[in-house]
Symmetry: D2
Subunit: 139 residues, 4 copies
Amino acid sequence: MPRKMCHCVKVRNYHVDSYGHVNNAQYLHYLEDARTDFFEELGYTLPELGRRDIFIFITESHLEYQKPARMGDSLLVYGWFKHLSSRKAVWQHEVYNAGNKELVLTGSITGLFLHHDKIISIPKDIRTAMNEIYFPQDR
Amino acid sequence: MPRKMCHCVKVRNYHVDSYGHVNNAQYLHYLEDARTDFFEELGYTLPELGRRDIFIFITESHLEYQKPARMGDSLLVYGWFKHLSSRKAVWQHEVYNAGNKELVLTGSITGLFLHHDKIISIPKDIRTAMNEIYFPQDR
Amino acid sequence: MPRKMCHCVKVRNYHVDSYGHVNNAQYLHYLEDARTDFFEELGYTLPELGRRDIFIFITESHLEYQKPARMGDSLLVYGWFKHLSSRKAVWQHEVYNAGNKELVLTGSITGLFLHHDKIISIPKDIRTAMNEIYFPQDR
Amino acid sequence: MPRKMCHCVKVRNYHVDSYGHVNNAQYLHYLEDARTDFFEELGYTLPELGRRDIFIFITESHLEYQKPARMGDSLLVYGWFKHLSSRKAVWQHEVYNAGNKELVLTGSITGLFLHHDKIISIPKDIRTAMNEIYFPQDR
């Protein structure tokens, strides 16, 4: 049975723009931090992947900002794969405000794996690990 | 005849991640800078809008990363409206590498206008100005 | 007996510049995150201080970059007060690489307390808490 | 006769923290952007230096925050060398608010030149160019 992963972040003073809301770009950092930690939990750190000359190239991001978050808020960033093929992985993300339980953001991020700058099939061991958090979804 | 607006940015050393590519989140800053300058060119600065208690809330961002950009590159960020209704504005963006003319990124950003935290119809004077860069598009 | 406080941070992909080193400005964010968490551990969150109309204004920062840090490194950010007077607080920071134990950065940050934009004496309850991590030092 | 160089920056919405002031770390980015453009004006871009395997390592930063700056402000970042020896260069910076002419920040940044990760004497051609903006100062 697959599971969804969760990463907790704290909204810092400088994540917030002059409106007092977390800036729209900052969420892409939150999601990237979450995915990095999720891969680490699955057994793969970015430096280790780097030593295998593998890196992940983001080809698409799609965010829907639902509610603003503010300085001092704790956010729960959930993530799982909604699509996994031999070459392409699509993350689905949901971000909740840990305080008031509001849904703050939904988003999806598409990535490809590169080896020496060429797109490759996702290596088998990594794909097996990724399956742990794969919830197939018709797109 | 409407026109497309253009903003030039320079890729800084710290916009680039450990892969040597502009980080995926940084592009949202480039697009935000461009839109801020476009509004200024149309006659509206953010502080002035703030004094009218108007601010623009981003509800959706959708980016497609086409080619990586690197430190020292100059990027041309184009922007225009592809959708404008009484309450909603959708920007279309294209980012080109000024050096090799490659298309680096395409994206769209959806925004609403708020007055004292309530969604409002786009004020008439601002809407008139926005029409200058409106290229209607069936969606 | 006073104690030094410690905050752990992980170097993210986008904290690193095109040289592969953590960018010089990023350390000020690490130190700010640490101080925010230290204050919280002492019983004061920024939003709570904000509700008392108190905020902390940084007047000086002095950093010495000792060794570069890289993506994936875990850093230990230590902090304590080396100077505390009625109106001024000077933090001392040391940042170590948790992996190889290298000293990465030393720095000091000077702050004042403001109430409705006027410099004030540090409120007594906050000063008492701050004393817990005060190691007086001749300057 | 040496001259001081000037770089203009615009305070963006996301440079500002929840207090409405430019965040303390953001100034290090403003200064870095200025120095990068100053070097370019002197004839040396970072990618060109990179092709000669030369890079500049910041060893020390010292900033004094004089007055807050706010979203929409235009800032003038001045820079020149106050110390230049065979191996070490110390920049002096002053940042002014272009609107109200207030002094916003003063700072100094110390840098070394590295070639293949070893500290080197500043290459002669670069040193000659740097002399154009050198105002010797007893320290």
